[in-house]
Amino acid sequence: MQIREYILRRLMILPLIVVGTSIIVFTLSRVGGNPIAIYLEHEMTPAEVAEIEERYGLNDPLPVQYLAWAGGVLTGDMGWSAVSAQPVTEALLDRVGATLELATFAAIVAITMGVGLGTFGGARRDRLPDHLTRVFSISGASMPIFWFAILLLILFWVNLGWVSIGRSDPIIFATIAHPTGLYTIDALLAGSPSAFLDALRYMALPAITLGFGATAIIARMMRSSLVEELNEDYVDAARAKGLPERLVLRRHARRNALIPTVTVIGLGFGFLLQGTVVVEIIFRWPGLGRWMADAVLRGDQATIMAYVLFTSILFLAVNLIVDVMYAYLDRRVVLGA
């Protein structure tokens, strides 16, 4: 199949999936959950409850409610997010920067570590270094983040005082403008090294905690595909040319091994997204994940719906991009096959 067709087909399916997701999300909030739970106080009279239900149009039949909501989503009006006391859309925009920035840096950590460990292990296949790197990277995926993170905080925050938590130092934060909402970018735009370093300092711990978790996914793929590539003839051919091992590995084997590794980046991104929920709670990162956790605890359905829908769309988009990237990179791959 041609790349164009393939992408076209994917793009055609995409809306279907999104609609499906939105239906699931909506059903969850209406059938199981109480959409106005957050507004309810435990001594409210039924009359007061009815009044609130009226305000949020919960007396209409479900399909009507769904269409109303879906229509709102399309027009950018997803209702009121009580946990952040602002319109959902506004809240989403406020927070998405923080989460994306964190996820991006975590991804950088994961990919660097993953590719590094994978190459290191794959090149020393089935020898001690290989086993050690394997155990190390898998440890990351097996670590209960909330437990690990607290240990890190005790060491680096309470005992060493190297980091603080949050997203930036409020004083330094105030020194520059934040047009993009991505603090590192903002700092660069403002040309303020102190703000940039500050952003990195606050980012370091959460990004490492989160990235460590996703390392294994990439490392294992990198390793196994590197092992495969090292068995290919062209590697011997490269050696036969007289290239030193360094080049054989770096320029030939590793470069080809990276291509299939791209396919798991999408998977890893999903891992990072869900990781943010916990990481953001503990490092009080003002992102979407904490927003969601807060909404779950306090029963703010409008927020939960928006978050789940948004996340899945993001996830879908990333996966599509990854597939296209892969298709482009790997000239051997036959799409759809």
Partner: protein, 571 residues
């Protein structure tokens, strides 16, 4: 004439006696080292230890984000009150130490003998303070005050707390520089429980009218996210999910505050505790269940003040619909109609376990339904103590001893309520292995929506009462057979003599002679000991862990949340 004064004084006394109640705290044996708990008097002279972080700024770590900063929308005990209390002011305020009243935007506290309360106790006159300006520069006048009250009454947002106004207030008028309120019935608790409530805060009329004005039943988005008041602090920023920033208001009419304030949002309990030890936070939203874990931490002081006037209680549902209960429950719908069952629970509960395990050893047992520090409280009042023989007798009498039962109690997950539930389960299992209490710990949202259902679909729940400075409010809400709770949960079917209870509560509510009130409440307390409708695991203290370098740290026992008046603090 002097009666009201007495009433107020009576309340005042409890405030002044902070030291006694905490210092000589033998009624509630604390497992914690005495040194760990300190009274305001101790903290004041203390020298800040070590190098102070964030000089000139007071950082408080809050556990959750306000749902609204609008006095007309914020619910009682909701996170928004913490901030509202600092930025907005009310006509009269509650003093730093306790429930004694001090003048606020009203230059005097109305009393009968200063003539500001009418003889019949129905009309209150508040002389409005001169020369007060709002943070937006507008003038405070009696009209603005009326505007603020009327605003809350007009909006009447169900999630808000406006009902405390609407229940009592018949009319509001402006008379020259005075603001005059007329009540629809006499109420001894009006000043303490209504005028001081966050919902009665005075907001800038200009600001409101410039931003959407007032609309009945509709939320005002501007006011939800902004504040324009007259308080010692101006609202400077609300970075959602990060912090709320307040700055000292230079044009404040009174004693200016010493420190700017930043309220950080820190969802995770452990992280708050760590941040306090790291010195990043000056005080943290403290949960008694782990307060003892902070004892002796470097540079940290644990403030332990009066008892909060909002006892933890286990509610018993006397209006059970069998088909609504969780399937595993085996109890009959009229389970709690039998006084022996209710007494049985009260006798079986392991109070000490809850005080130690739930309240960090810093709590006490309470007579029904008069928390320590409340008008009418008396040590001699009968208090339930664990007595397994008596409990066994009660349950045998009720006829459940042999076959036993399974019952689900709904609690909010985490914190003292879950602990209370677990203690209950253990207590009953210890009394009789056939007594199986399932603790269903749900998140806040689910807890509240369960309670919004009528009838309530569980047999029992654990929560705490809303805080009130005066017993009248407590009793009409939590004891009266036709009150907010009594009506929903069928107290009438439970009480031996519901009408007697009802008449006593009603009488006390309108009685202005405090001696008589004390009499009535103590009679009620005794009645309720024989015929309890609640189980009261214990009474929380005003607790807060803060950096030792904070000076004049004090905490008001009335509310858990706005109880910090940052304006008094310094470092």
């Amino acid at each position: 004439m002097v009666l009201v004064v007495l009433a107020v004084l009576a309340a005042a006394c409890t405030g002044d006696t902070t030291t006694e109640t905490t210092g000589a705290d033998d009624t509630t044996p604390a497992t914690t080292a005495p040194g760990a708990t300190t009274t305001p008097e101790d903290t004041t002279p203390e020298e800040p230890s070590g190098e102070v972080s964030n000089p000139g700024l007071y950082v408080h770590a809050a556990d959750d984000e306000p749902l609204s900063l609008d006095p007309a929308q914020a619910a009682a005990g909701e996170a928004g009150e913490t901030v509202i209390a600092q930025v907005y002011e009310r006509l009269v305020e509650i003093g730093p130490g306790g429930p004694d009243l001090i003048p606020g935007l009203s230059s005097e506290v109305p009393t009968v003998e200063n003539g500001l309360i009418s003889e019949d106790g129905l009309t209150y006159t508040f002389p409005i303070r001169e020369g007060v300006v709002f943070h937006d520069g507008s003038e405070l006048t009696a009209d603005v005050v009326k505007f603020s009250w009327d605003r809350a009454l007009t909006m009447a947002l169900p999630e808000g707390n406006s009902s405390v106004l609407s229940d009592l207030v018949a009319s509001t008028e402006v008379d020259g520089n005075n603001f005059v309120v007329t009540l629809n019935e006499r109420n001894a608790a009006f000043l303490n429980s209504v005028v001081t409530a966050a919902v009665a805060s005075i907001v800038s009329q200009e600001a409101v009218e410039a931003n959407g004005g007032v609309e009945a039943g509709a939320v005002n988005d501007f006011m939800t996210g902004n504040m324009v008041g007259t308080g010692p602090y101006t609202f400077s920023a609300w970075n959602r999910a990060e912090n709320i920033q307040l700055e000292v208001f230079d044009g404040y009419w009174g004693e200016p505050a010493a420190l700017d304030v930043r309220i950080d949002q820190v969802a995770d309990t452990d992280v708050r505790a760590l941040g306090l030890q790291a010195g990043d936070y000056d005080s943290i939203e403290t949960d008694p269940t782990f307060i003892d874990l902070l004892e002796g931490a470097e540079g940290v002081t644990i403030f332990s003040g009066d008892f909060l006037l909002e006892p933890v209680h286990m509610g018993m549902n006397m209006n059970i619909q069998a088909d609504l209960l969780p399937p595993e429950d085996t109890i009959p719908p009229d389970f709690f109609h039998d006084v022996n069952v209710r007494r049985g629970f009260n006798l079986a509960f392991d109070y000490q376990a809850f005080i130690d395990g739930g309240l960090g050893g810093l709590g006490g047992v309470v007579p029904h339904y008069l928390p320590q520090g409340m008008l009418g409280y008396d040590e001699s009042l009968p208090v339930f103590e664990r007595d397994l023989e008596a409990a066994e007798a009660a349950f045998t009498e009720a006829g459940y001893w042999d076959e036993g039962f399974t019952m689900t109690v709904l609690v909010e997950e985490g914190g003292i309520f879950e602990v209370a539930g677990l203690v209950l389960a253990d207590s009953m299992a210890e009394l009789n292995p056939a007594f199986n209490v399932q603790v269903l710990a749900v998140v806040e949202g689910q807890f509240d929506s369960a309670h919004a259902e009528d009838p309530f679909p569980y047999a029992a729940w654990v929560k705490n009462a809303d805080p009130f400075a005066d017993p009248a409010a407590l009793f009409s809400a939590y004891i009266h057979p036709d009150g907010d709770w009594g009506a929903v949960h069928g107290f009438r079917d439970a009480y031996a003599d519901p009408d007697l209870i009802a008449s006593l509560v009603d009488e006390a509510a309108v009685e202005l002679d405090s001696d008589r009130r004390v009499e009535i409440y103590q009679e009620l307390a005794t009645l309720l000991y024989e015929d309890p409708v609640w189980l009261i695991p214990g009474n929380e203290r005003a607790l807060m862990a803060h950096r030792t370098w904070i000076q004049n740290f004090d905490m008001n026992p009335l509310w858990p949340r706005p109880s910090l008046k940052f304006a008094y603090f310094d470092k």
